[in-house]
């Protein structure tokens, strides 16, 4: 069946069976579609429901009876007034604002180096990807030890100073966040590198050749051909890292436990503490929903940009 003849009025006829076929298809796939919808939507709806109550597992009633503890939007007004939440939020955004650009620039630089062939490339390439494969908890312990006041980081710094350096990285409220960010950059730059390298390799060779033949310098080619052509993949890489930073937890928790005080308490650590230590589940549901909304906005924005990028 073809739609080539849509220029003529009779052409509507062949579409009729197609429509009823589509309807049959919808009925046949409906159970599966409902299941998928249920799996995706159920946790969110449950969260919305619980966030409007004062329910906690210690209340002795199952969650579906949480409406007995209905408090309306109280959790949300609490959230707006919760300075610890906002502190954690800003801290997370700060980590993001530092780590994502650093990881991006390092990853891009490495990708530029690795897009050409050189001796020992394969070995170096595999080595560079190792941090990404380290279990985050293990990475946490590694950096916990590296940043001890008698640890290797201070020893390294001591080379450049006359007195031995004895900085208490993880217990200094100003420095602990730096240590945590270093660990994140170490662990996740390889992912950025991997994605950006894949994008860079897929930039058509003849376009670059054409630019060279037109007399473009390396920098001009990089900024006018390579980067614009990598736009979609750059957006993907950045979106992945932005979302992942919101979820930063294991490495950080092992290194500092969110401390000292709340100095390294990011949003995930805060949620964990509220859930596990203070057991206010309904409040956590409200926080989680707030973050979900933020991340959805980020994702939608990224996808929109990407679609615009693909039109070119």
């Amino acid at each position: 069946m073809t739609n080539v003849s849509t220029m003529t009025p009779v052409a509507d006829q062949p579409e009729a069976p197609a429509k009823s076929g589509a309807r049959l298809g919808l009925w046949l796939t409906l159970p599966a579609q409902l299941l998928v919808l249920f799996i995706a939507l159920f946790p969110i709806l449950m969260q919305v429901y619980i966030s409007l109550t004062d329910w906690s597992p210690l209340d002795g009633i199952p969650w579906w009876r949480a409406h007995e503890l209905w408090i309306g939007l109280l959790n949300y007004s609490d959230l707006i007034a919760d300075s610890r939440f906002w502190g954690a939020m800003w801290r997370t955004l700060f980590v993001m604002a530092v780590c994502v650009p650093v990881q991006f620039l390092l990853g891009l630089g490495l990708a530029v180096l690795f897009v050409d062939d050189f001796r020992g490339k394969r070995v170096l390439y595999s080595t560079l990807l190792v941090p990404m494969m380290v279990v985050p908890a293990v990475a946490g312990y590694m950096f916990f030890m590296l940043f001890q006041s008698g640890g290797p980081v201070n020893d390294l710094l001591s080379i450049f100073t006359s007195d031995p350096v004895r900085i208490a990285w993880l217990s200094d409220p100003d420095l602990a966040l730096i240590a945590v960010m270093v660990a994140d950059i170490w662990q996740w730059t390889p992912l950025m590198f991997l994605i950006l390298l894949a994008g860079m390799i897929s930039v058509p060779q003849d376009q670059q050749m054409a630019a060279i033949l037109l007399g473009a310098s390396w920098w001009r080619r990089f900024f006018t051909i390579v980067l614009p052509r990598m736009k979609s993949i750059i957006i993907i890489a950045l979106a992945i890292r932005v979302i992942e930073i919101f979820k930063i937890f294991d490495t950080l928790f092992i290194m500092t436990g969110g401390g000292p005080g709340v100095a390294t308490e990011t949003i995930s650590v805060y949620i964990y503490k509220v859930t596990q230590q203070e057991l206010i589940w309904s409040y956590v549901a409200a926080i989680a929903l707030a973050i979900l909304i933020v991340l959805s906005v980020v994702s939608v924005f990224a996808i929109k940009r990407m679609q615009r990028g693909q039109e070119t």
Binding site: A210, I212, L213, L214, G215, R220, I225, P228, K231, T312
Partner: protein
């Protein structure tokens, strides 16, 4: 404007020889086609002229100056890629401006030159369009314009019509030819399509297996192919090559094809066959030169293909096969019957049975 001289040019990739001992002089303002089947070394040659590949041996001279060590950005060569390599993420204007900007031409000049070129190439109405959705002939014009705006002395085109459907190719061919007329640059055109080479080029260089086989004007190559490869490659269908034997009776030397018949040799060919050591020779004639009215050769008619203005007749006799191309207005032979025809003696070409080289002492 530039003269290109290739001197004993060669390129090897490991054990594989892509090009061996290429000697070719392309005159200033000439349209030279490098013609040959895939893997014949024509693109390798082109890429070495452009500077994308470094020759393994030999020299490339532009106006007498060796350019082997000159990086490709500095050679002043315009290159049109097979798929045009248009920067599809930019507008038509930005594509045209790219080279000028890269060379630091002042913005006001860039504007003026783009305006002039857009008029020349009839691209004015789409200067601000994105290059992504443009049709192939506009892409081709843009690709040529993008290089030509820098006024390169040499223009290289790498099979620019191979992505275009047959009907459109004719349009693009004439467009390309008129563009070359306007710019007057030295053009090197790589193609595997003999029709493109024959219609556009001033001279054709036929290549196969990394070797340059013959250089000449389209008619020279068509009429006097240097060897059996060129003879069969040029023309559609190519030249018929039959295994023949020389015979001498009284004063007349003639060449016979077993079971088919024999043709007396022209005086020029009679002198040419003296180079041969044995009686074996390869006889060539163009399918178009088969004369229906004459007699002397008889072959069995297999398939008769009618393709409108002309008809291709497939002929066979034992191991020997040949084709004849007849105009529409002659009486066609019947399929599955014997048919007698002639080939004028001046249209016969002879080739060495071992090397395949044409026996010189040409009729023209």
């Amino acid at each position: 404007m530039s003269e290109i001289v290739l001197e004993s040019l060669g390129k090897t990739f490991g054990d594989f020889t892509a090009l061996a001992d290429m000697n070719l002089t392309i005159a200033n303002g000439e349209f030279m086609a490098l013609l040959g089947p895939s893997g014949c070394g024509k693109s390798t040659t082109m890429n070495m002229i452009a500077g994308m590949l470094r020759p393994s041996c030999g020299a490339i001279r532009f106006n007498g100056q060796d350019v082997v060590d000159v990086p490709m950005a500095k050679r002043g060569v315009g290159f049109v890629f097979q798929n045009y390599a248009i920067f599809t993420h930019m507008s038509v204007r930005e594509n045209l401006a790219y080279g000028l900007r890269a060379q630091g031409v002042p913005t006001a000049d860039i504007k003026k030159r783009i305006q002039a070129f857009a008029e020349l190439l009839q691209l004015e109405s789409m200067l601000n369009r994105r290059a992504a959705g443009l049709s192939v002939n506009i892409l081709q014009r843009l690709a040529i314009g993008r290089s030509a705006i820098l006024e390169p002395a040499i223009f290289l085109l790498d099979e620019p019509l191979s992505n275009v459907d047959a009907a459109f190719r004719a349009v693009m061919r004439s467009e390309l030819k008129s563009l070359q007329g306007q710019f007057g640059q030295t053009m090197v055109y790589v193609t595997h399509d003999q029709l493109e080479a024959m219609t556009m080029a001033d001279r054709i260089a036929v290549m196969d297996h990394g070797k340059l086989l013959q250089v000449g004007t389209p008619l020279e190559i068509y009429n006097n192919p240097a060897d059996t490869f060129v003879a069969k490659f040029i023309g559609a269908p190519g030249m018929n090559i039959l295994q023949g034997r020389l015979s001498q009776s009284a004063d007349v030397a003639s060449v016979g094809v077993p079971g088919v018949g024999s043709i007396p040799l022209s005086p020029a060919l009679q002198s040419a066959v003296r180079q041969l050591t044995g009686p074996e020779v390869q006889v060539g004639f163009r399918p178009e030169q088969v004369n229906v009215a004459g007699a002397g050769l008889t072959m069995h008619v297999g398939l008769v293909e009618r393709i409108g203005a002309r008809t291709i007749v497939h002929l066979e006799r034992g191991e020997t096969t040949a084709k004849a191309v007849l105009p529409a207005d002659v009486a066609l032979p019947k399929a599955q019957s014997d048919w007698t025809f002639a080939v004028p003696q001046e249209d016969i070409r002879l080739f060495d049975p071992k090397s395949g080289q044409a026996l010189k002492a040409r009729t023209h």
